[in-house]
């Protein structure tokens, strides 16, 4: 089926725009950037229709990448039902966002560079989902991280954007550390990294000695980094400093879901370790709840949606953690629709207001930018989980399975659903209702921007009809769920209540919101400041590291700088006699002392362990 064509189109787009884009007029850049993603989308369609039922994975092996003894890694791509969904989401939503970006980035500098990076991102993301072994997946995994770094720091003139890019990169290194170790453990116990072989062997009961718990926890650490879960979620809200299409594509629809995809892909390993599964679910639930509370007090529109992304990713983790892999992936897909829509809509608002992101400077926009308003509300009802929307279908499935696993998870999830509805509609009401509080002249977005919004709005509403769980049935057998009618209906009610409360606070009686805020001042402050987690990390980890390096390693051991003056060596050492002066000067004696010191320690240690054995 020539699967390699799927990622290669965007890669060519990257090469063409990256190398020659500077000289191209904008139209050519557009055609190359969007066209390459379109080609890859079409090829995905052709592949999937061509493969038909896909009862087993379709693997294509291109060449042996590394051969080292019995250890073999190939550049292999594979498509199965899970990959098919990911491919459709990535190329489909990617195509819409690329189109949208044409309009959004029109007035920005570095136009061709932006699209080159975006195409490069698509290449790595597609490699990630097509990869047929852990190492190739890791290549995509790191590649998308790199592109995310480049794109978050795109407005490099703003220091905040640069810092945000760095933070994302470094926090992700911690996740990668876990992922790498997990890979090593897998190689050690299975002798290979190939998905098919590893999972086949894992099913073999003879392999009960494999430390599945350790492997899964390390994979989970990797996933928490990429998918912004506790404790590594801190980078995602800051990453919103990048251009909005980037937030939509990378930080909502595709890259951040890689962790969920990876866990679903490794489901065979995870099912061997129920304890690790519980950790996945617990971390997911905690993140979902925690991020939702923060989302309630943010005043920056993109930040609200950023925390809601963290929160929704938490739901997906709960889904895969309680064993409802198909529900998790289903939510991944519907989330890609409605969250991309929310971000792009937010972008449209920001575009209309020439860069304003603060909700306090908006209001009454529904008359001025009606299309944006309508589509955004479609996204809103989907994320709130109102009946018959796509969000309802997937979220309810997760919550029901969670209930079967442990009712506690369900109740916290329900509360989170209520909060989600509240804060998303809080943002929407603040932006579109009431009086306009800003001083800009809002204008509706051009066709290339609102057309993708419309498509995504449609998908957000009816996307739930695509029955992903049934499609994934052969891979992830569905369990029979026996939960009461009430359990199924409660999430809807929670959604309605959340919206109603937001309406009451921000449209009907705005004074109520102030009163509530003032009566719970300390709590509001705590949430508004995101529980001071960033500060705590700085205090507990970053500062000690920097201070430690500064005072111990730098002051203590590295004070001897080369400047030719410290010892006055340069000028005086011409004569041989003056070498003695050097010997008497401070630093070199210290250095020699170090050598002696080290040798003495070594000799004593060896001496102590000496004697015939």
């Amino acid at each position: 089926m020539n699967l390699w064509l799927i990622p290669i189109f965007p890669f060519l787009g990257f090469l063409i725009n990256g190398l020659f884009g500077r000289r191209f007029p904008k139209q050519v850049v557009n055609v190359v950037a969007v066209g390459s993603v379109l080609l890859s989308f079409l090829w995905v369609l052709k592949t999937i229709t061509g493969l038909g039922a896909m009862e087993t994975a379709h693997v294509e092996r291109y060449f042996t990448w590394i051969q080292s003894g019995t250890f073999n890694v190939g550049v292999d791509f594979a498509v199965d039902r899970l990959t098919a969904i990911m491919l459709l989401v990535v190329t489909g939503v990617g195509l819409l966002i690329h189109t949208y970006a044409i309009g959004y980035m029109e007035h920005e500098g570095g136009y061709y560079r932006f699209f080159a990076y975006l195409n490069l991102f698509m290449f790595f993301m597609l490699t990630l989902v097509l990869a047929s072994n852990f190492l190739l997946l890791f290549v995509g995994w790191e590649g998308v991280g790199l592109c995310s770094y480049l794109l978050v720091g795109f407005y490099f003139t703003e220091k905040f954007a640069t810092d945000a890019g760095n933070k994302a990169f470094i926090v992700n290194r911690i996740g990668d550390f876990g992922f790498t170790l997990a890979m090593f453990l897998i190689v050690r116990h299975f002798g290979t990294l190939d998905f098919g072989t590893v999972f086949e062997q894992a099913k073999n009961p003879a392999n009960s000695a494999v430390p599945f718990f350790a492997i899964c926890m390390l994979l989970l650490l990797g996933a928490t980094g990429k998918s912004a879960q506790i404790p590594l979620y801190v980078w995602l809200p800051d990453a919103m400093a990048g251009p909005t299409p980037v937030s939509a594509l990378i930080h909502a629809a595709t890259m951040v879901t890689a962790g969920v995809y990876m866990i679903a892909r490794s489901s065979v390993l995870f099912t061997h370790s129920p304890a690790a599964m519980d950790w996945v679910a617990a971390i997911g639930m905690a993140t979902a709840f925690f991020a939702a509370t923060i989302g309630m007090a943010q005043t920056d529109m993109k930040k609200v949606f950023a925390y809601s992304t963290v929160s929704q990713l938490g739901y997906m983790f709960v889904g895969v953690g309680v064993g409802a892999f198909s529900a998790g992936v289903f939510h991944l897909m519907t989330h890609a629709f409605f969250k991309a829509l929310l971000f792009l809509g937010a972008g449209s608002v920001i575009h209309a207001l020439s860069g304003e992101q603060d909700l306090r400077q908006m209001g009454g926009l529904r008359k001025k930018i009606p299309i944006t308003c309508i589509t955004l509300f479609c996204g809103g009802v989907a994320i709130a989980g109102l009946p018959f929307t796509s969000g309802a279908a997937s979220k309810d499935l997760i919550l029901e399975t969670a209930y079967a696993r442990s009712p506690i998870l369900y109740w916290i999830g329900l509360l989170t659903a209520f909060m989600t509805a509240f804060y998303v509609f809080r943002a929407l009401f603040l932006a579109f209702f009431g009086k306009y509080r800003g001083d800009k002249h809002p204008h509706e977005a051009p066709f290339v921007m609102w057309a993708p919004l419309a498509v995504l709005a449609l998908l957000s509403l009816v996307g739930g009809l695509l029955s992903v769980p049934r499609w994934l049935e052969p891979m992830f057998p569905e369990k029979e769920l026996n939960v009461g009618q009430l359990i199924t209906i409660l999430p809807f009610i929670a959604g309605f209540l959340g919206i109603a409360l937001a309406y009451l606070f921000y449209v009907a009686k705005p004074s109520l919101a102030e009163t509530a805020k003032n009566s719970m001042g300390w709590l509001y402050n705590l949430i508004y400041n995101k529980y001071y987690v960033d500060e705590a990390y700085d205090l507990a980890v970053v500062n000690p590291l920097i201070q430690g390096s500064r005072s111990v390693l730098w002051r203590g051991m590295d004070a001897g700088l080369i400047d030719g003056i410290v010892n006055g060596v340069g000028r005086r050492s011409r004569g041989i006699g003056n070498i003695l002066k050097l010997l008497q000067s401070g630093s070199i004696r210290n250095y020699a002392a170090w050598v002696v010191f080290g040798s003495v320690i070594l000799l004593i240690a060896i001496g102590l362990s000496g004697g015939p054995r």
Binding site: G165, F177, R188, L561, G570, S573
Partner: protein, 509 residues
């Protein structure tokens, strides 16, 4: 009959002995030693040529540069040819095996890149002279002897030949204070450390009665003899000090930042790659063969040294503002990773050392070549902040530099990634779980300081330092492209080198 010519007597006696005991080198021995012969002869010739040319300024740098490149190319071909004659040379003094050839090719390659990146530098500092190139050649001869040495005296001779040439190179610009300070520090501390090595050789000779690696190995492996472990342990420890100093492993890394910072940039590029790789090569060979039987004794020390080296290198680098010093600490940290592979003391560990050193040499030379290009006359611009806006002013230079930095970080599709991958795989195979975990954590920390350079290059407005920047010279350009290409090839198609490394890492058997 010979009485009247008694002064010749010793010579004849020697000749007699040599024929008697077959000490006479055979023709094959000369082929095996051909690369060293070529380089020594040419190096000596350069010294003479320098005298003949005298103060003739025009084109001297070009003549010597091109001649050196040609010499190195010839030596490289000779290495390849010599590889067809594996075995001992000069009655077991040297050994030509795949392992030796790998490192000979590596150090000669490093030499070529270093020479290429020196053309413009020497011209700019008005210091084009033959001795620079002669010294580089002598240093490489020493390194080649080191990596093929099969006997401790040869190890010592090779190490000294290489080191002394490098000491002089570090202080090559006589009028530069920093150069002088670097050279003196390097020389004094280096001699100090070499003394430890020599002392260790003496002790092991005293214990085993031999300086041949295989004889020592056989001696130590003989369990019937009750060994004096205090004596042997001390010998191993003393030699460990000597080698650890040369590879800048903790706690003997202290000289490296000062020397790397003070020496001329192309020299730093050269000595942080070539002599270091050679020292690692001989370190591995000595400890895996001669001291192989007592591996359980030295493994804990290599283990602790590896950890300490990684920690000191990475954390001290966090604070550096001078880019040469930053790269110096980074090179200490990378020595720590290699030590991890040595601690694994298995065959895959040895091939990991080989692969990593090749990848490391390429990216390091590349990075220092950028510094050589960027620093300008008198090395005025060597702070990280001075790189601000390089990404816009010279996109190609910045992009190539970015490749080296990403490889340092260990991002996939670069040689640095696979190097680390093999090293930690080897360590895990040897059950060094905690060392691997701590090592990987270290490499996560390391991302920070490399990233800072990337940020400055791409995300800050060009400053005053960009005004006088010249376009890339041909020599540096070739160095950068070659190193970057090599780094990428090792990352995308690691099998190319790995297969060879694996097949030649079996010297320990």
């Amino acid at each position: 009959m010979w009485g009247s010519q008694s002064w010749l007597q010793p010579a004849f006696q020697l000749a007699y002995l040599m024929t008697m005991y077959n000490f006479m080198p055979s023709g094959d021995d000369y082929i095996r030693f051909l690369p060293e012969i070529i380089m020594s002869v040419m190096g000596t010739f350069f010294m003479v040529l320098e005298g003949i040319l005298g103060d003739k300024k025009e084109g001297k740098g070009l003549i010597f540069g091109h001649l050196t490149l040609a010499t190195l190319l010839a030596a490289l071909l000779a290495c390849m040819y010599a590889n067809g004659f594996p075995g001992n040379a000069f009655t077991g003094m040297l050994i030509i095996d795949g392992y030796g050839t790998f490192f000979r090719v590596l150090v000669i390659g490093v030499g070529m890149l270093a020479v290429l990146s020196s053309y413009q530098y020497l011209k700019r500092e008005h210091a084009e002279a033959g001795e620079y190139h002669a010294l580089i050649l002598f240093s490489i001869v020493g390194q080649c002897v080191m990596v093929t040495a099969n006997e401790l005296i040869m190890v010592f001779i090779g190490l000294e030949v290489s080191s002394i040439a490098t000491y002089v190179l570090a202080g090559y610009l006589r009028d530069d204070k920093r150069n002088n300070e670097a050279a003196l520090k390097y020389f004094l501390l280096g001699s100090f450390a070499t003394a430890f090595l020599l002392y260790g050789i003496a002790w092991i000779y005293g214990a085993s009665g031999s300086t041949r690696l295989d004889t020592i190995q056989a001696f130590l492996a003989n369990r019937d003899v009750a060994h004096n472990m205090a004596l042997i342990g001390t010998a191993a420890a003393l030699m460990f000090v000597g080698f650890a100093f040369k590879v800048s492993a903790a706690p003997f890394q202290i000289w490296a930042p000062d020397v790397y910072q003070g020496a001329p940039a192309p020299v730093t590029a050269f000595m942080s790659a070539g002599p270091k790789a050679a020292a690692f090569a001989v370190f591995v060979r000595v400890f895996m063969t001669a001291f192989g039987p007592i591996v359980d004794r030295w493994e804990p020390f290599v283990w602790s040294s590896a950890l300490l080296t990684m920690v000191i290198g990475n954390f001290a680098a966090l604070m550096q503002s001078n880019i040469k010093r930053l790269l110096a600490y980074s090179s200490i940290a990378h020595a720590g990773y290699v030590m991890v592979a040595i601690a694994a003391h298995n065959q895959i560990g040895v091939s990991a050392v080989m692969f990593y050193l090749a990848a490391y040499a390429l990216m390091n030379i590349g990075a220092f070549a950028v510094v050589a290009h960027f620093s300008r006359q008198g090395e005025k611009y060597v702070n990280v902040e001075d790189l601000a806006g390089l990404g816009w002013k010279q996109p190609v230079t910045a992009a190539l530099f970015a490749i080296f930095l990403l490889s340092f970080i260990g991002v996939p599709l670069t040689g640095g990634f696979f190097g680390k991958f093999y090293i930690f795989k080897a360590a895990l195979d040897a059950n060094l779980i905690w060392l691997s975990v701590l090592g990987l954590l270290n490499s996560a920390v390391a991302a920070y300081y490399y990233l800072r350079i990337l940020v400055v290059m791409y995300m800050q407005e060009p400053g005053e330092s960009m005004a006088s920047l010249q376009p890339l010279s041909t020599g540096i350009s070739v160095t950068l492209w070659a190193s970057a290409l090599g780094t990428l090839i090792l990352g995308i198609y690691p099998a190319a080198i790995l297969t060879f490394a694996r097949s030649s890492s079996a010297f320990l058997k």
